[in-house]
Symmetry: C2
Subunit: 265 residues, 2 copies
């Protein structure tokens, strides 16, 4: 007996920042048949709001330092404004979406990042047992499509700011116990590119060994490295397949023509 399939889609900030792109993307997401989950990042709205409120966004190595005021801002924007706009738009396209932070239904419990050289503040790290897959399965079995913002909690009343790519990967890994889970990272490029300046140079399939080679040659670099590391990590932990591609091509996913497919071998 094969498990039913579950597609976990991650959408990044640049699409969220553009109302028209976002709606087009959500229409395509709504059209994916079967059980599915969406994980969304934050976009620039939180940074702009923080700036209007006189808070300075502090970033270290691409990660936000989340002090108490900034946690309020990202909770408002990610779990409030962005999440609810996405949910309302999906309802319009007859996708029965339900927005979740990690606190809702206790679906994702993180730990406050330990202070070493840097104090990241209210940043939440995901552990192996962070994802409550049974609670999420309840929502899926009841016919709902969970929409995750990147806000988690520690189980003791504290909300935490967590990396959305990491959440997507952890969700896929945990849900692979119950479903044939696929993970689909949507971003602004057509996939993993042989030539970063040529959107037609998409690598269709990539193994972990290829990844190492491409990385050594400098073909894959910067922000793509942690994304692919997360993705291969998910495959090694039981996720059936991982795709990386352009949000505007999501309709091609059903035809298996979407972006780069990470291969398990």
């Amino acid at each position: 007996m094969s498990n039913s399939t579950l597609n976990i889609v991650k959408i990044g900030g640049n699409v969220i920042d553009d109302d028209i792109q976002l709606e087009t993307f959500l229409e395509k997401f709504a059209a994916i048949p079967g059980k599915k989950i969406l994980v969304h990042g934050g976009g620039k709205i939180a940074t702009r709001l923080a700036s209007k409120l006189g808070l300075e966004a502090q970033m270290v190595e691409g990660r936000r330092i989340t002090d108490k005021d900034m946690l309020d801002v990202v909770t408002m924007v990610y779990a409030g404004l962005t999440n609810k706009k996405i949910v309302a738009t999906l309802q319009k396209y007859l996708c029965d979406a339900i927005g979740l932070s990690g606190a809702d239904g206790n679906v994702i419990k993180a730990v406050k990042r330990p202070v070493k050289e840097i104090d990241y503040g209210y940043a939440g790290d995901i552990l192996a047992d962070s994802v409550n897959s049974l609670a999420i399965k309840k929502f899926l079995d009841a016919g709902f499509t969970p929409i995750f913002s990147a806000i988690t909690h520690n189980g003791s009343g504290q909300l935490l700011n967590t990396n959305a790519d990491t959440i997507a990967s952890a969700l896929a890994t945990a849900m692979a116990d119950h479903y044939e889970a696929s993970l689909i990272y949507c971003f602004e490029k057509n996939g993993v590119l042989l030539d970063v300046n040529d959107e037609n140079s998409v690598i269709e399939n990539i193994t972990a060994k290829d990844f190492t080679t491409y990385r050594e040659r400098g073909i894959i670099s910067d922000g793509m490295i942690p994304k692919l590391q997360n993705a291969f990590d998910a495959i090694h932990k039981g996720v059936k397949s991982v795709y990386v591609g352009n949000a505007s091509n999501l309709h091609l996913f059903q035809q298996q023509k979407f972006g780069t497919c990470l291969v398990n071998k």
Copy 2:
């Protein structure tokens, strides 16, 4: 065969504005056994945030005029910051809370208030069929405690700002088809008072006829009138009982010593 009981609790702004009062209240709410729902208002955080952003809060007859920017603010604060803080705190007290706007699971669909003398902007009115009681029953049956912010949607992608008292009353009425539903309005007074300056003058039981009499005599006035009208309306539509009392006395609810009980006769 009697239906199982369902308690629907409404908490107002003044408790939400005070972190310590709010946590104390939530600990008491978490301790109520059986199926339950919480509906929360907004408090002053939205008004303060709007003011910091240079938006002016416009009120007409106690109702907020919700323009596009103000809708973003109340969505951020009500459905984001306040709702998620409440959910995370309830999880701490082992209440498996899940935060919902009306868009989540399509649980409450409202209509944008028609423009007559006043354009209320993105204000949502509740209709007789607004509440999706079957979707809410799914959450309750799965063991979750729904926490409603006062944000709804129109089913076509538009979020709307809705009165929290009205949501509580509409929820109780709709859920009365499935449960022995009780509605508990928590606010800053000990109940309906014979003397507004004496917190010990609580009227323990009040009928619709008493309400008319007290109103004519001026004993009940101002903000209490729409609250009680909503409440009697709910009773006439099948809600078993309605209570009005002090949030800090919620622990007395189980002993039937809480505030004023509205009686159906």
